[in-house]
Subunit: 184 residues, 2 copies
DNA sequence: TAGGCCATGTAACCGGTTACATGATTAG
DNA sequence: CTAATCATGTAACCGGTTACATGGCCTA
């Protein structure tokens, strides 16, 4: 399956009607934010194509004092398409980390900068933990809960390791700096 | 910093001279494969631009029975640029998982398909563990070793959790199927 | 009164992939 | 004889981001 904005829209609309604006909120803050962080520039065109292809329909709702909303609903064809995609074996996870690149090149970075990078990374992990916790708090959906708990486990395990082993990484930078000093 | 192919090339050339072909090998199989999985179509243009910008130089080496190789070396300006990039605080990791999407929608998938998806995922994790282990075996570089050990920890922790908690996910699919049957 | 939220959409750009083009050597 | 490995490079395409365009309401 293609973990793209199109599929993201379909996955959200499977469970609820939504506007493009709401889909973006769900994808950046809500229970779908583990997968994609889609922007308006990709969501609106994706919804347009989905409608052309007959996988969703839309109706407009005028509001007083607010812009009109265009509410999208999934069609039966859309449901079928999404379920077919779900039944494909999952492709490999994508993981890209600048922090690991810095870690790998620790010898080239000042010791305090390495410490700062670790601090930044720990902060990011904390923010992710907090976010998942808040999703869990007001979500009864069993699949989502399972995924959140899995995420919580992985991230806190990663945080633990980093906390306990950061000194070894910082030592690499310090030793390299000392070796450079000695060479002068 | 921008974890793009340009930076990948710079990071490799910081430690060794290399051809475009070798950079691709390193990025898909070697010790750099945790970050990017770059293709020729992005590497060769990136090297060209890097040379234009004076961050790398190249010399050609003709070989008997093989095509000529274009060997790239980093310049002093290239070294400086890379170190400056390394000293920037790391941006958030990127993580995209089709498996988690399937898990979140477990209720919509046949129980045997969920089991198959878990099996696929476990296989991917095993492959990653094996790959990192093989990198560790013939690499003495301390930063790389630290990163590999970190990766090993995170992936085996993820694998453990999945092995121990897969039944709960499979149960979601089974219960949903049972509920659908009862509704008929 | 400044900034954030609601709400839709387009256009320019960018960083990548895939496929194509070429061609000799070597191992199975 | 076939497929893989070595080796470079281009062109078409694609899926996304960022910025722009518009505009009213509400809150600090």
């Amino acid at each position: 399956m293609g973990m793209n904005v199109r599929t993201l829209c379909l996955s959200i609309l499977y469970f609820q009607e939504a506007t493009g604006y709401e889909i973006r909120k769900l994808s950046t803050e809500g229970r779908f934010s583990h997968f994609v962080d889609a922007s308006f520039g990709s969501i609106y065109p994706a919804l347009g194509r989905l409608e052309q292809d007959g996988l969703v329909t839309s109706r407009e709702e005028t509001q007083i004092g607010k812009p009109a909303r265009k509410i999208f609903s999934i069609t039966e064809a859309g449901r079928q398409t999404f379920i077919e995609e779900l039944n494909q074996p999952p492709s490999q996870d994508v993981f890209r980390s600048e922090f690991l690149m810095i870690g790998m090149c620790a010898e080239l970075v000042d010791a305090p900068r390495i410490a700062a990078a670790i601090e930044t990374r720990l902060g990011q992990l904390d923010a992710e933990l907090e976010h998942i916790t808040s999703v869990l708090e007001d979500c009864e959906h069993p699949g989502t809960r399972w995924v959140c708990e899995y995420g919580l486990h992985c991230i806190s395990s990663s945080k633990d390791y980093l906390t306990k082993n950061r000194a070894r990484l910082e030592a690499i930078a310090e030793q390299a700096a000392a070796a450079r000093d000695a060479a002068e």
